[in-house]
């Protein structure tokens, strides 16, 4: 800080607002945080790396290929996006057991106007999203105004909407999707050139944006990252983005002369887009801040003048609308909507994804990126075990084990946190 000449500088006393400037200080600061129980998404990232290494060693010929990774991202998209929506209700300490089926019903609504009534693409997608929003509004009203526990309300919507979905598809039938645009959402790829443009925009945007804000905050004498922290983050992001884009830009089709597959999967771009938009909403708007406040201490939020019922209602609407996007992605993947779209293990995988990523079921703690990391962890197990020719029984047992492990890490870190005074 450059206020040494300021006579009041001696009055200011915030020693820990200084950021670590050396590599050693950075590492020891991070270790302190871990010891204090603030593990963040470290366990999920470690789990992800471990799983990738294990499957790459066991199936070097199939697992780490660009073809499989592209596939994996497409398989994950539905769960990841659903989990992103769930983060909003989990942050409040609530739950939406029906979110998966909400996605199915919304996708079916879209499919019906599309295939049976011949609607154009955009209005049809809007019908799907609106269906999700209406379901979310219904749940939100019951939870926030009538005070019914969300577990019960969404247990009812889970059962009831499954019935609705069955009626929509017709007994035993499916709603086929023939719309190219929608099918491409979770099967198509961006052109290689566009992928690179996107990568450069993201890198320049992040590196430039964080650099500018670091300088601005430092010159204003506020808490700011040190150059070293900023550089490490910028380099890490740049390397990851470049590596992913390079990896996925190469030809990865098994029969390139019949059908060329290359470029970033559109599903990945959608996930990243949602990640940025939703994270921004949570961290930079008053609404997002109030979501954390209500989840952390609803009574404190109420006394601070925050409309708690409104925050709850909007979170359910947002979660269900995002669930509709997830439903559309699931339908796009299978080119159709069936009575099981969004059913089965979908919702449980999505909740598991958020928890593995580090979101707490007790509310107040969680980020959108948790859903992305956790969702990919869960789907890697599915994908890798499939390549190892394991049956579904084993897959579920392993997935359950990983979830338990994540919950244990959370519990242990929570205990440490309460011992050291962190959450």
């Amino acid at each position: 800080m450059s206020t040494a000449t300021d006579p009041t500088a001696a009055e200011k006393w915030h020693p820990e607002d200084e950021s670590p400037r050396t590599f050693g200080a950075l590492v020891s600061g991070y270790v302190d945080r871990l010891r204090g129980g603030d593990v963040g998404s470290l366990p999920a990232v470690l789990g992800l790396v471990t799983l990738v290494i294990v499957f790459s060693v066991l199936r070097p010929d199939t697992f780490p290929t660009a073809y499989n990774i592209g596939n994996l991202l497409g398989q994950s998209a539905g769960i990841v996006v659903l989990a992103m929506g769930l983060v909003f209700v989990l942050l409040l300490g609530e739950i939406d057991l029906g979110a998966g089926i909400t996605g199915g019903v919304s996708a079916a609504a879209m499919g019906i106007v599309l295939s049976r009534h011949g609607w154009p693409t955009v209005p049809a997608i809007l019908v799907g999203l609106l269906t999700g929003a209406v379901i979310g509004f219904f749940i939100g009203i019951l939870v926030s105004r009538l005070g019914i526990p969300s577990f019960v309300v969404t247990l009812a919507t889970y059962l009831g909407l499954q019935g609705v979905l069955l009626k929509q598809t017709g007994a035993g039938g499916t709603i086929p999707l023939q719309n190219d645009f929608i099918i491409k959402l979770n099967n198509g790829n961006l052109s290689v050139a566009l992928g690179w443009v996107l990568a450069i925009v993201i890198i320049v945007g992040y590196v430039g944006g964080t650099f500018w804000s670091m300088r601005r905050r430092r010159s204003a004498g506020l808490t700011a990252e040190s150059n070293l922290q900023w550089a490490l983050k910028a380099i890490t992001l740049t390397v990851i983005v470049l590596a992913v884009v390079t990896f996925l830009s190469a030809e990865r089709g098994p029969h390139p002369n019949l059908k060329s597959i290359r470029g970033l999967p559109i599903s990945l771009v959608l996930m990243i887009g949602l990640l940025l938009v939703l994270s921004f909403a949570l961290s930079r708007t008053t609404w997002g801040r109030h979501v954390y406040a209500v989840g952390g201490n609803a009574e404190a939020a109420r006394r601070a003048g925050i409309n708690v019922a409104w925050i709850k209602l909007t979170c359910f609407v947002v979660a269900s609308t995002i669930a509709a996007i997830a439903g559309i992605l699931l339908a796009s993947r299978t080119n159709s909507i069936s009575p099981t779209t969004g059913g089965g293990t979908t919702l449980l995988y999505a909740v598991g994804a958020a928890v593995i990523g580090g979101t707490s079921l007790f509310g107040g703690k969680g980020r959108i990126i948790d859903a992305l990391i956790g969702g990919i962890v869960i789907k890697i197990i599915d994908n890798g075990m499939g390549l190892l020719d394991q049956d579904q029984g084993t897959v579920w047992m392993v997935t359950g084990g990983v979830l338990l492990l994540a919950a244990s890490v959370d519990a242990v870190s929570r205990r440490r946190a309460s011992a050291s005074g962190r959450v």
Binding site: P15, D17, T285, T286, R289, H290, Y292, N297, A304
Partner: protein, 266 residues
């Protein structure tokens, strides 16, 4: 803020014109008559301790002042003007802030976020973290707070005294004129109690009217300029701290009778 210093205007206590004046306050909850004609003066630059046994009506009185449970009858004036307070927003608008016993902080948010909770500063629709952090620091530095190492610490990582400090700093952030503290030292150790009491004194020295609710007469005699004693919903009296001994105040709290003053400064 009123700076003219006329004659004594309240029932007791000299010095300046009161910021907040209550006269003949009545409040009932159903058949229970909780406040029976209470008078209270809060003056700028002074710490007024509000004492009384359990059930004397201390909480009801401050909830009425804050507008959470508005009074049934009586005169409520602020800065010499009669006012109507029907909700917390009204009292906040007047410049009255209440720091509740359970603090009402969000553990999962940091110090800056808590201080601005519900009243975030925005720029172009987005949260203006820079301005908020700056103002939070200015407020803390202005109160000479030496216990908070970083304004970006999560509240969950703070000790009881530090939390109390954050809650008090939040109350003075809004150019408030009257700060009401409900049992601020109830759960604190000796050293932390000392810190918080010093902070309470500093608030008054900055010209705020401070109401301190406390069961601990040590605290009261350490920082309060005057003491208002409630007994079964009625005000026994609002007296200068220097005029009375601890034993006399205890008698007043337990019997509702104020002994003759032993003398002191006044």
């Amino acid at each position: 803020m009123s700076v003219d210093t006329p004659e004594r205007t309240g029932p007791t206590g000299p010095t300046t014109q009161p910021l907040l004046t209550l006269r003949g306050i009545q409040k009932s909850f159903g058949a229970v008559h909780v406040l029976r004609g209470v008078d209270l003066d809060v003056r700028p630059g002074r710490v007024t301790a509000l004492v009384g046994d359990n059930g004397a009506g201390k909480s009801t009185l401050i909830k009425g002042i804050a507008g959470i449970h508005p009074f049934d009858e009586g005169d409520y004036s602020f800065d010499g003007q009669p006012v109507k307070v029907h909700g917390p927003k009204d009292s906040n608008a007047l410049g009255i802030e209440v720091v509740y016993q359970d603090l009402a902080l969000c553990d999962n948010l940091d110090v800056v976020h808590n201080m601005f909770l519900g009243r975030e500063i925005t720029k172009g629709g987005l949260i203006d973290e820079d301005t908020m952090e700056k103002r939070a620091r200015e407020t803390l530095d202005g109160l000479s707070v030496r216990t908070l190492k970083s304004v970006r610490t999560h509240v969950s990582a703070l000790s009881g005294g530090q939390r109390q400090t954050v809650a008090i700093a939040r109350a003075v952030l809004w150019n408030s004129k009257v700060v009401i503290l409900d049992e601020p030292t109830a759960a604190l150790g000796v050293a932390q109690t000392e810190q918080v009491l010093k902070l309470v004194r500093r608030l008054a020295d900055r010209g705020l009217g401070v109401v301190l609710i406390s069961h601990n007469l040590n605290d009261v005699f350490e920082v309060a300029d005057d003491i208002a004693i409630l007994y079964l919903g009625a005000m026994v009296g609002q007296v200068e701290t220097s005029d009375y001994t601890r034993e006399q105040i205890v008698t007043a709290i337990t019997t509702g009778q104020l002994p003759a003053k032993t003398g002191g400064a006044a």
